[in-house]
């Protein structure tokens, strides 16, 4: 039984086991009925015919639509995270500074960009590049998407880092001071490396958020990411249900793998530090749920 269950439930006896089995059966029957109803509806609209699903078994559809879309999605996400990481680290150190004139501007930047929807940033960035720069039209959507994602995620990552540094046991700072390390040495040699590893799972989870947010690029700025490939696919095959299903499966598998990676990393960290006594909950719900 999972750890959540042991907090809540006693170890089940034979009666409890029988009861659970009966609930399972009732619930299972309801689920099957729901699925059958959905399939029946789709079938009556002709959405389950082989013609609508066959395209996804051809290599052309993958090599010309889905894979380039997937590539664009990953490209935007990875670029955003890579650019946002150092900016986030700087903002975090800024917010932890002893000097008010560093701390305050950093705080304002972080809070501002966390308060604004990514989509609003994206619309702004897209129009900004259109009006004020010579970025070629091909790259403009990518620029807009990455700019918006960087602004938002640098702020979020800044908070992740800050939480990471603050979650380190205070003893690490004290031990570093006690052997005579200076402030910068302490940050660079002791605190940042530990914060980075401790927060690695949270950073990977953030990648999931970024990956999902790239899809916002399909709404106004027309970035040719995975979701936008639905236009090309349905224009050719008029198979919206099949198309959105396949695209959803792609997103879900990618993000699921990343989430698994994040929790695997979290476990690894916990073990490496011995029993997890001082390990912060890396998947801090505060940060995890921000989408």
């Amino acid at each position: 039984m999972s750890s959540a269950a042991t907090v809540l439930y006693d170890h089940p006896g034979p009666k409890a086991k029988a009861r659970n089995l009966i609930f399972s059966i009732i619930f299972g029957v309801l689920l099957v009925l729901l699925v059958l109803w959905v399939l029946d509806k789709l079938n009556s609209k002709g959405e389950l015919t082989a013609k609508k699903w066959e395209p996804f078994t051809t290599s052309n559809v993958w090599s010309n639509f889905l894979l380039p879309g997937l590539g664009a999605t990953i490209k935007a996400a990875v670029l955003s995270v890579i650019i946002a990481l150092p900016i986030g680290a700087i903002l975090a150190v800024g917010r932890l500074s002893d000097h008010r004139w560093v701390r305050w501007p950093a705080a304002v930047v972080v809070e501002f960009f966390r308060a604004i929807p990514v989509l609003i940033l994206m619309v702004f960035a897209g129009e900004f590049y259109f009006q004020y720069t010579d970025v070629p039209s091909e790259s403009r959507p990518l620029f807009a998407v990455v700019t918006a994602l960087v602004l938002y995620n640098a702020s979020v990552l800044a908070e992740i880092f800050r939480a990471g540094i603050r979650s380190l046991p205070h003893g690490q700072t004290e031990a570093a001071q006690a052997i005579g390390l200076r402030k910068t040495q302490m940050m660079v040699l002791i605190l940042l490396p530990q914060a980075l590893t401790a927060m690695l799972p949270a950073i990977v989870s953030q990648l999931v958020v970024v990956l999902k947010d790239t899809a916002l690029g399909s709404i106004f700025v027309g970035y040719a990411e995975l979701l936008r490939q639905a236009n090309n696919l349905t224009a050719n095959f008029s198979n919206s249900v099949a198309t959105y299903t396949v695209i959803a499966v792609l997103y879900i598998s990618m993000n699921f793998i990343l989430s698994m990676l994040a929790s695997w990393l979290e476990k690894l960290m916990r073990n490496r530090r011995g029993g997890g006594k001082h390990v912060p909950r890396a998947l801090d719900p505060e940060l995890e749920v921000r989408a």
């Binding site: 006693d10 409890a16 509806k41 999902k212 899809a215 959105y244 719900p285 749920v289």
Partner: protein, 229 residues
């Protein structure tokens, strides 16, 4: 900065933000209810319910909201025939889209509500339940007297972030044509190209006004509610 557009009667900025607020409040209520049910399933001793809860959360949390909302309209409403307004109503399309957007936001946001509640339950040390069982409390008593009161207090902070994220996520409803803030902004930046910064700052300010006080207030409540150990 150029703010001439503020006097243009075509742009109902307050109206657009009012739609944003309505989307937020309705979706928040729905997500709380459905998210709590999901959490109950995820921690239930019935394996199939746990499996369903886990699968639901993993599927919808990992799908872009944009895709969920588009599917609401294109698949759920058009193909499965789920309409949320009277077909004969003169505002059927507008109402139906708005409600579909709320439903889509609920489907997505409830996964985060569920996970917040579940992690709230997990923050209650196992020793609390053991001590409760050891004095002879039965399952429902352990749950209602000892675990839930403590879990709910640690759930305020994560739920506050969910609410803030939701407020911002309502912008995605523009993907199915709901006339909320971001849709109006995208129209305005195209038409008022000389006032880009002005338009952006108005909409940015709108969201700062919507999210910052919520965050501060709920953060304060969360602080008050924390169980000291």
């Amino acid at each position: 900065m150029n703010f001439d557009f503020l006097s243009n009667p075509d742009y109902d900025i307050l109206g657009a933000f009012w739609v944003t607020v309505q989307l937020t409040l309705l979706a928040a209520a729905g997500s709380m209810i459905w998210g709590t049910i999901l959490a109950a399933m995820r921690v239930s001793p019935v394996p199939l319910m746990r499996g369903f809860g886990t699968a639901y959360v993993n599927i919808f949390r990992n799908t872009p909201l944009t895709l969920i909302l588009i599917a609401m309209s294109v698949v759920l409403s058009n193909k499965l025939g789920l309409v949320l307004a009277s077909k004969s109503s003169p505002t059927f399309i507008k109402d139906n889209n708005f409600r579909l957007a709320v439903l889509g936001l609920v489907i997505y946001t409830s996964t985060f509500v569920c996970e917040s509640i579940r992690s709230g339950i997990n923050t209650v040390p196992a020793g609390q339940a053991e001590a409760a069982r050891a004095i002879g409390l039965r399952f429902s008593q352990v749950l209602w007297i000892v675990i839930l009161p403590q879990a709910l207090r640690s759930v305020v902070a994560p739920l506050a972030s969910v609410l803030i994220a939701l407020t911002k996520n309502t912008t995605v409803a523009s993907a199915i044509g709901v006339a909320e803030a971001s849709l109006l902004m995208s129209t305005m930046v195209e038409n008022e190209s000389d006032a880009l910064l002005g338009v952006f700052s108005i909409f940015a300010l709108g969201f700062v006004v919507l999210t910052l006080p919520t965050g501060l207030l709920l953060g304060w409540v969360a602080n008050k509610a924390t169980v000291k150990r």
